[in-house]
């Protein structure tokens, strides 16, 4: 029996060691391909990147995009690569012979693409407005549209500053609960939290340790938020919230301050500034009377 056990251990070692050695010391240590100076054939697997690229007027250089109802209308002419929440076919991406691919964080497929000599730029998730601005500048730099990017970035900053200064000295900051998919809300580390705070509100979930926490109903009822924002993307409907047991006495429900937030309000593209502005209008209607 001892011989058998030794054999098994050798077998296990042989399963892992050769691969490790191969990886570590492979002679041709492939560097990931570098991003070209002025990419001409861009495939965008990131909805955010698609939108930003069109904003920067680099849309003509896009050859393929992920399908989405939120895409700018011009995107319809590009090759549709499938929906993000299905799986997208890498073959198609490679088949379009792009010289740059914008991707989200699915690392496996990115490697496959890179191995074919196609550079991949990963669109980092932005959990604050500052990061969104940085993203716009980065993408601008990559596609050689720095000046357009700067314009957008400066305009965004202007609008942010406008809101921030006006709500800075307000005494009453409303307590805000953001209702997302399946009862989740948004905590620190999420863009929505950043928007709520900058717009002069107090996020009910501001002390939670994770970005997408599940808050207990009791806690929400007890804290009695002044405003409820409902995520159009997957969140409950306004009527449904009004019908919930025990929620009728919440200030937000009694005073009918439940608002719907479309997806682009909280997505990390320049349009989220509209979200910021709308939040500010909901939170402090007196200040923002148009």
């Amino acid at each position: 029996m001892k011989k058998v056990w030794i054999g098994i251990i050798i077998l296990i070692i042989c399963s892992f060691v050769p691969v490790y050695v191969l990886r570590r010391y492979s002679v041709v240590k492939q560097q990931p391909p570098s991003i070209p100076h002025l990419p001409q054939r861009i495939v965008s697997l990131s909805l955010v990147a698609t939108e930003i690229l069109f904003d920067l007027e680099a849309g003509d250089r896009i050859v393929g995009v992920i399908e989405s109802p939120n895409n700018p209308p011009q995107a319809k002419e590009k090759v549709q690569m499938g929906k993000t929440f299905g799986h997208l076919n890498i073959e198609m991406v490679v088949g379009l012979e792009p010289d740059l691919v914008f991707s989200c964080h699915e690392i496996d497929a990115n490697k496959t693409i890179e191995k074919r000599g196609i550079p991949v730029f990963i669109v980092d998730t932005c959990n604050s407005l500052d990061r969104v601005i940085v993203l716009v500048r980065n993408i601008g730099k990559i596609v050689g549209k720095e000046s357009e990017a700067e314009v957008i970035a400066l305009r965004m900053q202007e609008r942010i500053d406008n809101i921030v200064t006006r709500v800075r000295d307000v005494a009453n900051q409303p307590l805000v609960y953001f209702a997302g998919l399946n009862g989740t809300t948004r905590g620190p580390g999420s863009l929505t939290h950043n928007l709520i705070t900058l717009a002069g509100g107090i996020n009910l979930a501001k002390d939670e340790p994770v970005p997408f926490p599940l808050l207990s109903t009791e806690y929400i009822i007890e804290k009695n938020p002044d405003i409820i924002i409902v995520d159009e993307r997957g969140g409950p409907s306004i009527e449904e919230i009004k019908r919930r047991d025990g929620w009728q006495n919440i200030k937000a429900v009694k005073n009918n301050r439940i608002y719907k937030s479309p997806k682009y309000f909280t997505n990390y593209t320049p349009r989220c500034i509209e979200g910021l502005e709308q939040f500010a209008r909901w939170f402090h209607p007196q200040i923002f009377k148009e």
Binding site: P18, E91, V94
Partner: protein, 346 residues
Amino acid sequence: MKAKEFFSKRKFKWSFILSGLAGGLFLTFVLALTVGSVNIHPFLVTKILFSKIIGIPRTWPASFEAVIIGVRIPRILLGALVGAALGVSGTAMQGLFRNPMASPYVTGVASGAAFGASLMIVLGIGSFWISPAAFLISVSTAFLVYSIARARNKVPVETLLLAGIAISLFFSALVSFTQYIAPEKQLRQIIFWLMGGLWGSNWDKVITCLPPILLGSVGISLFSRDLNAMLSGEEAARNVGVEVKNIRKIVLILASLVTSSAVAVTGIIGFVGLIIPHIMRIFVGPDHRILLPCSFLAGAIFLVWADILARTLIAPTELPVGIITAILGVPFFLFLLRRRKKLMGF
């Protein structure tokens, strides 16, 4: 008929079956290579393949070559390897536990592997370490399940399976937890990985899972006779000279090795490990010497086929392959069941 004659005849029959399956696998490869969302004519595919061996002047666009060599071939190979791994480990588990419901998932092995891998992803540790971590946790899970089920030096089969299901659910919950706390960066990664599929196939993954799956499968098949004897019961096996306790541990370790390597590269693909052994058992009988290699080949064929469907049915969007395996596998299995009342002797 004399014994020698009987066994020679059967050896011939078995060789025939295995060659048939191997041929089927080859044909499946060929079909899979010519099909995809990028339309490349089969003749061109052959030319591209041959150009890798002998030099032919390139008359096709570089992207075609990239698609075939860089995307399709690794994907098909990965599908075959993972399907084979699940087939073999499912067979080993069912034989070991003498229970038709045993599968890599029910015994907690796959869930442990999934947890190990997702833990590595959340912690952001390098991609090489995902497989060994999955294996270590997977093996620990197997032993945890084993020791929970042990009562007074005996390991009753039913308790083993109950413990396996419990631990399996526990690790599934842990995996959900890692999803819950994962920063958004890794969250997407885990979600896509958990959906289970050959979507992110690349040569790295093929190289990573090839040694453990092949070595592990060969290892398990070396214990075919022991598994056969154990089908008659622990005591009957001991009477014939099988060291049941040791063999159990070894087969569990090897099956964990094979399963965890598969799960670490493709996430959770269900049904293959449960159904393929039953289907093959109906065709070739319970003898592990033929059943294990057949499950290996049949598992490979099945998953590559499922993947062909997954990537062509609503191209360019892909369906998660787990859905295809369920839709294909379960009705076929039920049909076979009706035809043949006995299911693994139950």
